[in-house]
Symmetry: C2
Subunit: 233 residues, 2 copies
């Protein structure tokens, strides 16, 4: 057999979400209707929907329905912001400084980001926790994907929520590379932290529903009061 039916259903539902037929937060057709629409049985549609739920693309609740995942500040933070207190409590950072510029893409950015953009927006933010700056994040995104981004400043706290609401760009997954470094004078001055302390540096690549690389992000975290949490299975 070439491709199982349930994978066809899976693909077609993703297409419909991506093209806006099923917008974020919306309820999908029920299993029977979706099955009839695509010419398969309910169980087959169901298998595809379960797979979509596993990938956190839809959310299902018995008796209620199936809904396109909606990025909220809470679940965005939970999924993509890994810093916790020592007690394991999620941190809700306050945004502080923010600058957005438009500039030419570096060669690496042009090669990595989707559609090989010539120009990018660079969003730089310093965030605080309990009044202390602890985090600097620099996001780079293609200009073509987020037109008019600069007019939206100041941007919302949770960037990915805004991506979804304003640009129908649904962030699904990310990869990070971490290493330890020492804050040099420039960084320390910029962030308002002490020079010479150890910081955690992360380089992130972010992907959306269609598996496009929509963001490259560099993060610098002060980890004397917070820790970066990782689960392994």
């Amino acid at each position: 057999m070439s491709e199982p039916l349930y994978k066809m259903v899976y693909r077609r539902v993703i297409e419909r979400i991506a093209e806006g037929t099923y917008p974020p937060g919306a309820m999908l057709p029920n299993e029977f209707d979706l099955a009839a629409d695509l010419g398969v049985s309910q169980g087959t549609a169901r298998k595809a929907l379960s797979a979509l739920e596993d990938k956190a693309i839809v959310q299902r609740r018995q008796g209620k329905g199936t809904f396109v995942v909606l990025r909220t500040p809470e679940n965005s933070l939970f999924h993509f912001f890994r810093l916790r207190t020592f007690d394991g409590v999620q941190v809700t950072p306050e945004p502080a400084k923010e600058t957005v510029i438009k500039r030419k893409a570096s060669q690496n950015e042009r090669e990595t980001l989707c559609d090989h953009p010539t120009h990018v927006f660079e969003i730089t933010r310093v965030r605080s926790f309990k009044g202390q700056p602890f985090c600097m994040e620099q996001s780079v995104v293609p200009v073509e994907l987020f037109p008019g981004l600069m007019e939206r400043t100041p941007l919302k706290n949770a960037l990915y929520v805004m991506f979804q609401q304003a640009y129908s760009c649904i962030v699904i997954s990310a990869e990070e590379n971490l290493h330890a470094a020492i804050a040099d004078a420039e960084l320390a001055d910029f962030m308002g932290i002490e020079k010479g302390i150890a910081v955690l540096v992360s380089e992130r690549v972010t992907r959306d529903l269609l598996d496009r690389t929509v963001e490259m992000r560099k993060g610098v975290y002060v980890t004397n009061e917070l820790t970066y949490f990782v689960e392994m299975n």
Copy 2:
């Protein structure tokens, strides 16, 4: 309905793996036999087996069968050792120094580790990559769970492989907390690295098939040539 049948099957298969009825690497009964054995239909047994596969407890291959997961040095490294080169290539560290001692458990260890042990083994290792020491790991495990561990020195490179082979303890998941630090004189001297450089420090809690906490591990990594890789979904 109190508990779905497939969850009962799921639990009973885990029990059988834990008690050695299905040892690591062994083939499970096929879907029909398992179903008949437990008084359910093939599809229900299948659903349980799929769930076990999702949790990486068994491995399935069409036409061949279902097998209890076997920890090999390769997949152990892949799952639980997150350091990569900048090219994304998995690192295979060479073990260097190793010391194993038996000592009293700290209060934190007694509270965290399974069965609240009074004594623990502490395994300390310094590992090298391309001749340079880059990693210090200190594992703490309950004495009761791993009797005779000290007589097995020098221990294998991959600790979790040995846990499974010698003690039927199947490591399934782990959580890590990361932070950045600066190598002090004592650490630098012990590891054979330069004093004052930035290091990545991890504190890990490791769980087995029965969700017991079988290990606490502290790791110190030099990340100027390697990075710690994280995936987010």
